[in-house]
């Protein structure tokens, strides 16, 4: 929402947009390192590894680690962090490369796992 106080438009706090532009969070990178695809429903978890110099985790890296102390699907992470998915993926790539984050599961192919489907079906029917 734009207010105008007679001296031109003013935008405050959230309206002013993100303080740090997304590209500055990853220094312009859009390709996650390590090659993992980080699908939306992939589950990640923070390890407790320390970063090795010269990697310095930024505030967003630390936020991600805080959010996935328990196994967390990536899509849930992204709801908490107000950043584009592409940026989140790059950050996840940084963390996994440093061993500070681990991908516990990743979905690469269409689901043919009957057991999982059975779980879904059972779950749905019990709603």
């Amino acid at each position: 929402m734009t207010t105008n106080d007679g001296h031109g438009d003013r935008w405050f706090d959230r309206e002013a947009g993100p303080v740090v532009r997304p590209y500055a969070v990853t220094k312009g990178r859009t390709l996650p390192s390590g090659g993992a695809s980080f699908g939306l429903i992939d589950v990640v978890i923070a390890t407790n590894e320390r970063p090795s110099a010269p990697f310095r985790p930024g505030p967003e890296h630390r936020q991600i680690l805080n959010l996935c102390r328990r196994p967390t699907p990536i899509v849930d992470l992204t709801s908490e962090i107000d950043l584009p998915l592409g940026v989140v993926r790059v950050l996840l790539g940084d963390l996994t490369s440093e061993g500070m984050l681990r991908v516990l599961s990743t979905q690469k192919q269409p689901v043919t796992d009957q057991r999982l489907l059975r779980m879904v079906l059972d779950g749905l029917e019990s709603l």
Binding site: D9, R10, D13, A16, V19, V20, Y23, T30, L31, R56
Partner: protein, 491 residues
């Protein structure tokens, strides 16, 4: 008349000579005698005609005497005859003698009278001269006095006028200009009081013309200021419109970046985002230069790391810049926008003036109760003179001189720093290390009082810091000495 007398004497001599010689007179002598007689008579008649009555009177008594008649007769007889002189020597002696004596007496009397006359004439002349001189002297003295008095008056009035003029040029007009620069309104009449009048008309006229000039100068300054204001306003309006459009564009980019999961497409959007962000920075910069505030504002405090990264994001070569701070401190909301702009300016400088393969580091640390942000590059270094010059310019917050438009950035930094009591200075830092060549860096401490707020987890750092954000002198000095930053214990 004296010549006449002399002629008479000559006659007597000639006759005397002849008498001695048994009264024989040569023809030459007779001729001489005759001419003497003629001359004598001539001279006497001329003289008598010329003399004034009282002067000729004694001579007249001689010439009117019977003896004179006889004398003249004898003269005629002598001159007209030939052979021996026909006159009686005794009678001749007596008459000529009497004539001569009479003439001499007359001459003496005349001389006395003449001297009397000339004396009185001389007296009169002296008196007249004296009078004239005396009057003249009085006149001169009077003129001198008048001159001096008048001169003093002129001097006084001129001095008064000069003071007025000087006051105008050195005090009132500069004050008016200064006030106009600040944007105050100026009453032309109040600021151009007419100088004191003088009873001397010429000076009065000068004073009047001066008053006219003065009013014209003030009016011109006011007009100029109005014009500048209008031009300023035009630029400001354009920049604000730019700013709005760019704001909307960035909002659209935010949405698009979220809808893209393909890395290459996202990279393109990032490039566009960066470009747009730089455009916005320049729009905001122009708004700041025009004396207004940028549209983005924060009421809540913002983490300093974010502020620094935001500044870096606005720079063309942001990839070369590392923000290495892990500080949890916050910057007071009201300062965020300006600090971003200020730091961006300094970081841009650092990237421009250092080799393209070097990196720039931006840090923020707490020093005392303030925050110091440092921007360090590995540039070629500046001479101590240049360094001092830049620091001076940063500290003094001068009026922007369009002649130095290449120093626009520095000027903006100075303005913003002054607005928030931020001290910015350039320093040389030395890199030692393994390299065998000496690398200089430039370090700029930026100090401002942020509001240290909550660290994640909610612990409150210190309540005392909620003051307005002003810099204490003590802090400034601490920074200028090379005191290593002390880490505050956060509990």
């Amino acid at each position: 008349m004296s010549y006449a007398l002399e002629m008479g004497s000559r006659e007597a001599v000639l006759v005397g000579g002849a008498l001695i010689d048994r009264g024989q007179m040569s023809a030459a002598a007779r001729q001489q005698f005759a001419s003497s007689v003629a001359s004598r008579r001539n001279l006497m008649s001329v003289a008598l005609a010329l003399l004034t009555p009282d002067l000729s009177a004694p001579y007249a008594s001689v010439t009117s005497s019977p003896q004179y008649q006889t004398f003249q007769n004898m003269e005629d007889q002598i001159s007209g005859g030939s052979g021996p002189i026909p006159v009686d020597p005794a009678a001749w002696q007596a008459d000529s003698g009497a004539f001569l004596a009479g003439m001499q007496k007359a001459e003496i009397a005349g001389g006395v009278k003449l001297s009397q006359m000339s004396a009185s004439l001389g007296d009169r002349l002296v008196l007249e001269a004296g009078l004239a001189g005396g009057l003249g002297l009085v006149a001169v003295i009077a003129s001198i006095f008048l001159l001096v008095w008048f001169g003093r008056k002129v001097r006084r009035d001129l001095t008064g006028l000069h003071d007025s003029v000087r006051g105008m040029a050195e005090e009132r007009l500069p004050r008016v200009v200064e006030r106009l620069r600040r944007g105050d309104d100026v009453d032309v009449l109040a600021e151009s009081p007419p100088p004191d009048t003088s009873s001397i008309q010429e000076i009065s006229q000068i004073a009047e013309s001066f008053a006219t000039v003065q009013a014209a100068a003030v009016a011109a300054a006011v007009d100029q200021a109005k014009l500048r204001k209008r031009v300023n306003q035009v630029f400001l309006n354009i920049s604000m419109r730019n700013q709005s459009l760019l704001h909307r564009q960035l909002g659209m980019l935010d949405s698009m970046e979220r809808r893209t999961s393909e890395p290459e497409a996202l990279a393109d959007l990032f490039r566009l985002d960066h470009l747009t962000t730089r455009m916005r920075r320049h729009a905001e910069g122009l708004i700041i230069l025009s004396g207004s505030v940028p549209g983005r504002g924060w009421r809540d405090p913002v983490p300093v790391v974010d502020v620094l990264r935001a500044a870096v994001a606005e720079v063309e070569n942001y990839v070369r810049v590392d923000v290495t701070s892990e500080s949890d401190d916050l910057v007071a909301g009201i300062a965020v926008s300006d600090v971003i702009h200020l730091v961006a300016e300094l970081v841009e400088n650092a990237t421009v003036f250092s080799p393209p393969n070097t990196r720039i580091e931006v840090r923020a640390d707490r020093v005392g109760t303030g925050l110091v942000a440092e921007i360090e590059d590995r540039g070629l270094g500046l001479s101590p003179g240049e360094l001092a010059g830049i620091n001076r310019r940063l500290a003094s917050s001068p009026e922007f001189d369009l002649a130095h438009s290449d120093q626009l950035g520095l000027f903006v930094v100075g303005q913003l720093a002054a607005r928030h009591d931020i001290e910015v200075s350039l320093r040389r830092s030395v890199y030692g290390g393994a390299a065998d060549h000496h690398r200089d860096g430039v370090r700029l401490p930026v100090r401002h009082r942020g509001r240290p707020g909550d660290v994640p987890g909610g612990a409150d750092v210190r309540g005392a810091e909620r003051g307005p954000h002003r810099l204490r002198d003590g802090d400034a000095r601490a920074a200028d000495g090379q005191v290593p930053p002390s880490r505050a214990e956060i509990s």
